[in-house]
């Protein structure tokens, strides 16, 4: 890594805009997330949080602005190219390989990063490193007892855990999690928070999350996105105290956080 890359933020957005037709969904977002930070993006429904994730991960092209990963411009790259540069994401709606076993899901997620690419001359069974890495992740997400089960037959909470497993398995150092606790009970949520904390240790984490308990528990810094603009970015206590944030969006944060 060059010196510039070493000092650059892990993820940096500069003047990012996105329009669908005449509607501008993202209206100029600037954001710099330093290496190793856990960053949460919050905001009301329709604020553009998921769209922002889709722009960063290359699912949609940004209309304007620049997105940089470790100082390198990734604005125009395709999802697989961005992934190879060390950014991996999860999805709000579970996005797994339904007909493959849990273990195969994870093995598929590690193959590229281990350099097997499009190989048709390696036997999968002979790739000890891929098996080992997949089994490590399997253990970490607590699905070892489901190893051979088709992923489509898992419970919702198990599928969400697998979703996180697939996201981190390739060893990316910037992880984007889109509502990892959506639709979960309180005890399942606590479990996921613990899991996320463990598997993203030492990595840069960006997450979209509605559960304010989770956000204030996990995040080092928080950005509030309202109508496609960043209203405020800061430490959890600063966000709590920010009058503009309270006026535009919150009130509920205090209550949710207090309950957590």
């Amino acid at each position: 890594m060059s010196d510039a890359a070493a000092t650059a933020p892990a993820l940096e957005l500069a003047g990012v805009r996105k329009s669908f037709g005449n509607t501008e969904i993202i209206r100029g977002v600037d954001l710099a997330i330093p290496r190793g930070e856990r960053h949460a993006i919050i905001g009301p429904n329709g604020a553009g949080k998921s769209t922002l994730f889709n722009l960063i991960s290359g699912r949609f092209p940004a209309s304007r602005g620049a997105i940089r990963l470790n100082g390198e411009d990734i604005t125009r790259l395709k999802p697989f190219q961005i992934n190879r540069k060390g950014l991996s994401r999860s999805f709000q709606i579970t996005n797994i390989f339904h007909n493959l076993s849990v273990f195969e899901n994870l093995r598929c997620a590690v193959l590229w990063s281990l350099g097997y690419r499009y190989s048709f001359w390696h036997r999968l069974a002979g790739l000890a490193d891929a098996r080992q890495r997949a089994d490590e992740v399997l253990e970490a997400i607590g699905l070892a007892s489901r190893r051979e089960r088709p992923a489509g037959l898992l419970t919702y909470a198990e599928q969400r855990a697998l979703e996180i497993g697939i996201t981190i398995a390739g060893g990316a150092d910037v992880i984007l999690l889109d509502e990892p606790t959506a639709g979960m009970s309180r005890s399942e949520t606590d479990h996921v928070v613990e899991l996320v904390r463990r598997v993203t240790a030492g990595k840069t984490l960006v997450m979209v999350e509605h559960d304010m308990g989770v956000v204030f528990n996990l995040a080092d810094r928080i950005s509030v996105l309202v109508y496609g603009e960043v209203l405020a970015t800061g430490k959890p206590e600063e966000i709590r105290a920010n009058a503009a944030v309270q006026e535009a969006y919150l009130g509920t944060i205090h209550e949710d956080a207090a309950h957590a």
């Binding site: 991960s57 699912r59 395709k78 999802p79 697989f80 992934n83 190879r84 991996s88 994401r89 996005n95 797994i96 390989f97 339904h98 007909n99 493959l100 195969e104 093995r107 598929c108 997620a109 193959l111 590229w112 990063s113 097997y116 690419r117 499009y118 190989s119 048709f120 001359w121 390696h122 036997r123 999968l124 069974a125 002979g126 790739l127 000890a128 697939i166 398995a169 390739g170």
Partner: protein, 420 residues
């Protein structure tokens, strides 16, 4: 230490397959049987190569004959050059030429077709199939026009006493290539590319987000699939000593889809069963009846409606029942349902054949023979018999089927209970 629990079973299955292929022509020695077996061997390679796309990668192709057919054309030209002594190419290695030709066209056409998956892919393959077929009429020097390109597989000095003149020698050549191709395609399904093809089939978007270019996964898979299709094409060229435009036609492309589907696309061995059955339908049945296409169509419809996983899935469904030790209690039900099914089949065959005789073939009189029985298709008695068969067979089948599903349901509940 490597953990491979079913390795022994795998070796047994492959060994048994090889043994079966080796002894079959010793049991069925008639020329007709050898022809049938040879065509089955070719069809197995072709159908398995097709299923690399359909079953393993989720690509529904309507133009797979393009690769086998062009492989066959290149092979026939190389064979003709070789027999003139202009190039060196032993007959036994000709399938490799066909395979490389298939792969070459896979590189060319596949780049375009695999850009998209799903319906778009299916439509483009249809287009490329038509394109190549129309080329076969536009370039008669290469495609041989209506008559096709003929060849003679016997040339040069015999190799180890093999001239490849007799059908049985050709059969063994096909069997060897078939076995090697089956093993190679099975091995492919257990490589990183093979597994990622499954992943792209299940969820292309997720595959992109774990670092894979789905276009390349599909493209490379198609090239390998086209390679094996080309091998099948070259073997067909050796077997029939003629290659015509039919080899690249939509009929051939549709046939392989039929075969794969009948056998079952979700299991590796499904297309093998499908290929054998399909060849049997096309070659054997077409000798016995003019209505063979109708039977094939009906069979295909029944499979799609009642066993969409193909015959392979019907077999695999039995495994937990056998493991539970309950297969024995199903056997009488299978026997009853099967027997009643045979009555319905007899009613169908009688009706169809008599209808054909009366409406299509009545110029030669209405006397006909079925299963060695002579009768008059214009008479009342045979039609009445057909009617009785329909009613009695249908009623018996319905009853047997209900009892079978009842018992089946009980056993499934029992298995589910034991698992929980």
């Amino acid at each position: 230490m490597r953990y491979q629990p079913i390795n022994l079973g795998r070796w047994l299955i492959w060994g048994a397959t090889a043994l079966l292929m080796a002894v079959l022509p010793l049991i069925f020695t008639q020329g007709f049987a050898i022809t049938l077996l040879s065509q089955m061997g070719i069809a197995i390679i072709f159908t398995l190569s097709y299923n690399m796309l359909l079953g393993q990668s989720g690509m529904l192709s309507f133009g797979h004959a393009v690769y086998s057919g062009l492989g066959a054309y290149i092979a026939v030209h190389v064979l003709n050059l070789a027999s003139k002594g202009q190039v060196w190419m032993p007959l036994s290695l000709l399938p490799l030429v066909g395979g490389l030709a298939g792969a070459f066209f896979g590189v060319l056409f596949g780049y375009v077709t695999t850009k998209r998956a799903g319906t778009t892919f299916a439509m483009i393959t249809l287009g490329i199939g038509e394109l190549v077929f129309s080329c076969s009429l536009m370039f008669p020097e290469f495609f041989g026009g209506e008559g096709g390109i003929t060849t003679n597989r016997v040339f040069g000095q015999p190799f180890l006493g093999l001239t490849f003149g007799p059908g049985v020698q050709v059969y063994y050549l096909i069997a060897l290539w078939c076995l090697a191709s089956m093993a190679a395609m099975y091995a492919w399904s257990h490589t990183p590319l093979g597994r990622m093809a499954n992943a792209v089939r299940d969820n292309p978007e997720r595959a992109e987000f774990v670092g894979y270019d789905t276009h390349k996964v599909r493209w490379f898979t198609l090239i390998i699939s086209a390679f094996f299709a080309g091998i099948a094409g070259a073997l067909a060229c050796i077997n029939f000593e003629i290659v015509t435009a039919e080899n690249v036609s939509a009929i051939r492309s549709g046939g392989v889809l039929f075969a794969a589907f009948i056998g079952g696309v979700t299991f590796f061995f499904g297309p093998i069963i499908g290929a054998c059955l399909f060849v049997y339908f096309v070659v054997a049945l077409s000798d016995h009846t003019k209505a063979w296409l109708l039977y094939l169509g009906l069979f295909f419809m029944l499979m799609v409606m009642f066993a969409p996983g193909g015959i392979a899935s019907l077999i695999v469904m039995q495994l937990p029942v056998i493991a539970r030790g309950r297969f024995r209690s199903l056997l009488p039900h299978y026997a009853r349902t099967g027997a009643a099914g045979l009555l319905v089949l007899a009613a169908l065959v009688l009706t169809v054949e008599m209808t054909y005789k009366v409406s299509v073939d009545s110029a030669n009189g209405t006397a006909m023979t079925l299963l060695g029985v002579d009768f008059d298709a214009a008479g009342t008695l045979p039609w009445a018999l057909a009617g009785v068969l329909w009613i009695v067979g249908g009623w018996l089948f319905h009853r047997a089927w209900l009892r079978l599903s009842h018992t089946w349901g009980e056993i499934q509940a029992e298995i589910a209970g034991a698992r929980a």
